[in-house]
C-alpha cells in the first residue's frame, strides 16, 4: 500500500481507473436499470457476463452503492423459514462465496457463525421449526442450548439473572459478513469493464409508456428509450413504481444502525436477538456493528434518533455487560422498503417490459447476487425464473404470501 502510494505519487506506474469516465446518455439502450445499488449493479454484471447484453445503462440518482447498500450491516445467511425463502437465499450465499474470485477483488467475505437468540418458549419453537426446514433443504442450521452456546461464544452473557435470559438459539455456522462497498464496486466494475454504462447523478423522474408498455425513462439529464426497464431502488420503490403507474405493498420506514470505536478482535460470531431487537457483529476493522428494529413510523429521511440508541444499548448491555465503557463512533439510517410478509417483490409488473426488484426491507444485502443473476436471466430470456416466482407482485391479490416474519433478524 505504502509503496503503491509512493510509486503513483512520484509519477511512476500508470494509475488504472476503476470505472470508465461517465459519458453522455445515449438515446436508447436495450436495458435500463433504475438504481445503482448492489442489486442494480449485479443485474448489469450478469447481463453482460452471462448473456453478452452490454447495451445497458445503470441510472443512479446519487452515487454508486450510496443507498442501502452503503448503509447495511452486511449479515449474510440462509436460515429462513419458508422453503421458497431458504432455496432463494441459499443460492445467494453460494454465489457470495465465489464473488472475490469472480471480481478479482477482495469482498472480505468472512464466515462467522450466526446465532439467533431465543428468550421465550415461542422463540425456541420457531427456532426448531426453522432448523428443521433448513436441514431438510440442506442448510447447516441447528437449535442449540446455553451449554452449547457457551462453548462456541463464551463472550455472551448467558446468566439467568437478567430480564430476558437466553433459553436457546438457532445456530447457523455459514452465517457471514462481507464488505458492502466492495460488493457494489465489484459488480459495477465487472459490468462497466464489459461495456455497461454507469450514470451517476442521474435521477429517473418519469417512466414513458405507450399502449401499456414501458418504452423509456425521463431523467434529470434527458430522455432515453429502453427495450426493457427494471427498477432496483429500495426505499424509493413506491415513488418510482408510481411513475410507471402501479402501487406496491410497501411502506418505507427508516432502519438505523451504528458502530462503536474499533476494539481488538474479540467477537467472531454474529449475534442476533429478535426479542431484544439487537444485532451485533465485529467488523474486520474491529468496530462493533450494531442495529435494531425499524423506526416506529415511516419517514423519507436518513435522520438518526436518540431513542434508537437508548433502546438498542439497554438490551445490548444485557448481552455484553463489559461493553458499558465503549463509545459509539458513527450512527446512520437507511430507508427500508418493508413488505407485509417480509419477502421481496420480484419479477413482472402490470406494465409490459417493466420489471421490479423491490421490497427488500431490512434483509436485501444477502440477496444481492441471486437477484442480479436471476434478474439478468429474466431480462435476457423473457421468462421469470422458478426461484423468483414465489415473490411475484400478484401474490398479494392471490393471497399467497411468503411469510418470513418469523425469520426476520429483529422484531419490527
Amino acid at each position: 500500500m505504502a509503496f503503491a502510494l509512493l510509486k503513483y505519487g512520484l509519477g511512476f506506474g500508470k494509475f488504472e481507473r476503476q470505472f470508465p469516465k461517465q459519458k453522455d446518455l445515449k438515446d436508447s439502450y436495450d436495458v435500463v436499470i433504475v438504481g445503482g445499488g448492489g442489486h442494480g449493479a449485479a443485474t448489469a454484471y450478469y447481463l453482460a457476463r452471462d448473456y453478452g447484453i452490454t447495451n445497458v445503462a445503470i441510472l443512479e440518482r446519487g452515487y454508486l452503492g450510496g443507498g442501502n447498500t452503503a448503509r447495511n450491516t452486511t449479515i449474510i445467511r440462509s436460515n429462513y423459514l419458508t422453503p421458497e425463502g431458504v432455496a432463494f437465499y441459499d443460492e445467494s450465499l453460494s454465489l457470495y462465496k465465489d464473488l472475490s474470485n469472480d471480481f478479482d477483488m477482495n469482498i472480505m467475505y468472512s464466515e462467522r457463525g450466526h446465532f439467533t437468540l431465543a428468550h421465550t418458549d415461542a422463540a425456541v419453537r420457531t427456532s426448531r421449526w426453522r432448523a428443521e426446514v433448513n436441514k431438510h433443504l440442506g442448510v447447516d442450521s441447528e437449535l442449540v442450548f446455553p451449554n452449547e452456546i457457551k462453548k462456541i461464544c463464551p463472550q455472551l452473557n448467558l446468566s439467568e439473572d437478567v430480564r430476558y435470559p437466553v433459553m436457546g438459539a438457532l445456530y447457523h455456522p455459514p452465517g457471514a459478513i462481507a464488505r458492502h462497498d466492495a460488493v457494489a464496486w465489484g459488480y459495477a466494475r465487472g459490468a462497466t469493464m464489459r461495456g455497461v454504462e454507469l450514470h451517476q447523478k442521474t435521477e429517473v423522474t418519469g417512466i414513458k409508456r405507450s399502449n401499456g408498455k414501458a418504452v423509456g425513462v425521463e431523467t434529470t439529464r434527458g430522455t432515453v428509450n429502453a427495450g426493457k426497464i427494471i427498477q432496483c431502488v429500495a426505499g424509493r420503490s413506491s415513488l418510482v413504481a408510481k411513475m410507471a403507474g402501479f402501487k406496491l405493498p410497501i411502506k418505507t420506514v427508516p432502519l438505523q444502525a451504528c458502530v462503536s470505536q474499533p476494539l481488538k478482535p474479540f467477537l467472531d460470531a454474529i449475534i442476533v436477538s429478535g426479542s431484544l431487537h439487537v444485532y451485533i457483529s465485529q467488523s474486520s476493522r474491529g468496530e462493533l456493528v450494531m442495529g435494531g428494529s425499524t423506526d416506529p413510523y415511516g419517514v423519507y429521511q436518513n435522520r438518526s434518533t436518540l431513542e434508537f440508541k437508548e433502546g438498542l444499548m439497554a438490551h445490548m448491555l444485557e448481552l455484553f455487560p463489559f461493553l458499558g465503557e465503549v463509545k459509539i463512533l458513527r450512527q446512520w439510517a437507511g430507508m427500508a422498503d418493508m413488505t407485509p410478509d417480509f419477502s421481496p417483490v420480484m419479477g413482472e409488473t402490470p406494465v409490459d417490459n417493466y420489471y421490479i426488484d423491490a421490497g427488500w426491507g431490512t434483509w436485501g444485502f444477502k440477496a444481492t447476487p441471486v437477484c442480479g443473476k436471476r434478474n439478468a436471466e429474466m431480462l435476457a430470456t423473457g421468462t421469470v425464473p422458478e426461484v423468483l416466482k414465489p415473490f411475484r407482485l400478484s401474490r398479494f391479490e392471490e393471497f399467497h404470501q411468503v411469510g418470513e416474519k418469523g425469520a426476520a433478524s429483529v422484531g419490527h
Binding site: 402501487k247 406496491l248 411502506k251 416506529p296 391479490e397
Partner: protein
C-alpha cells in the same frame, strides 16, 4: 422525544402512539373483488410529502388522524376521525343484495 398532540389526551410522547397507515376509503368486503380487497389491505401510496394517517393512542385506545410531512418529520395537524368520516360505516351481509 417528539411530542404528538392527541385530540383526546393532549400533548403526549410519540412513543405512546402507533401509526397504522394511510387513511383510505374501505370497500365493502362482501361486495368488492379479491383484487379490490387486496389493494385496500396490502397496496399503499407510500407517498413522500404530506400524508394523512390513522394513529392510535395506545393507553387509551383512541384512534384519530394525523397529517404530517414525512420528508421533514413534522407533525402538521391532528384531528378526530369524525372530521373525515361523518357517518357510520355500514356493512352488508354476504347473502344480502347490496342496498
Amino acid at each position: 422525544m417528539k411530542i404528538l398532540n392527541c385530540p383526546l389526551n393532549g400533548p403526549r410522547n410519540i412513543s405512546e402512539f402507533i401509526c397504522a397507515g394511510e387513511v383510505e376509503v374501505e370497500p365493502d368486503p362482501n361486495r368488492c373483488s379479491n383484487a379490490e380487497w387486496a389493494e385496500y389491505i396490502f397496496l399503499h401510496d407510500n407517498d413522500a410529502g404530506v400524508v394523512q394517517e390513522w394513529w392510535c393512542h395506545v393507553p387509551t385506545a383512541y384512534w384519530f388522524i394525523v397529517e404530517r410531512n414525512n420528508l421533514t418529520d413534522e407533525i402538521l395537524r391532528t384531528f378526530p376521525s369524525t372530521e373525515i368520516f361523518t357517518k357510520r360505516q355500514e356493512y352488508s351481509r354476504p347473502d344480502q343484495e347490496a342496498s
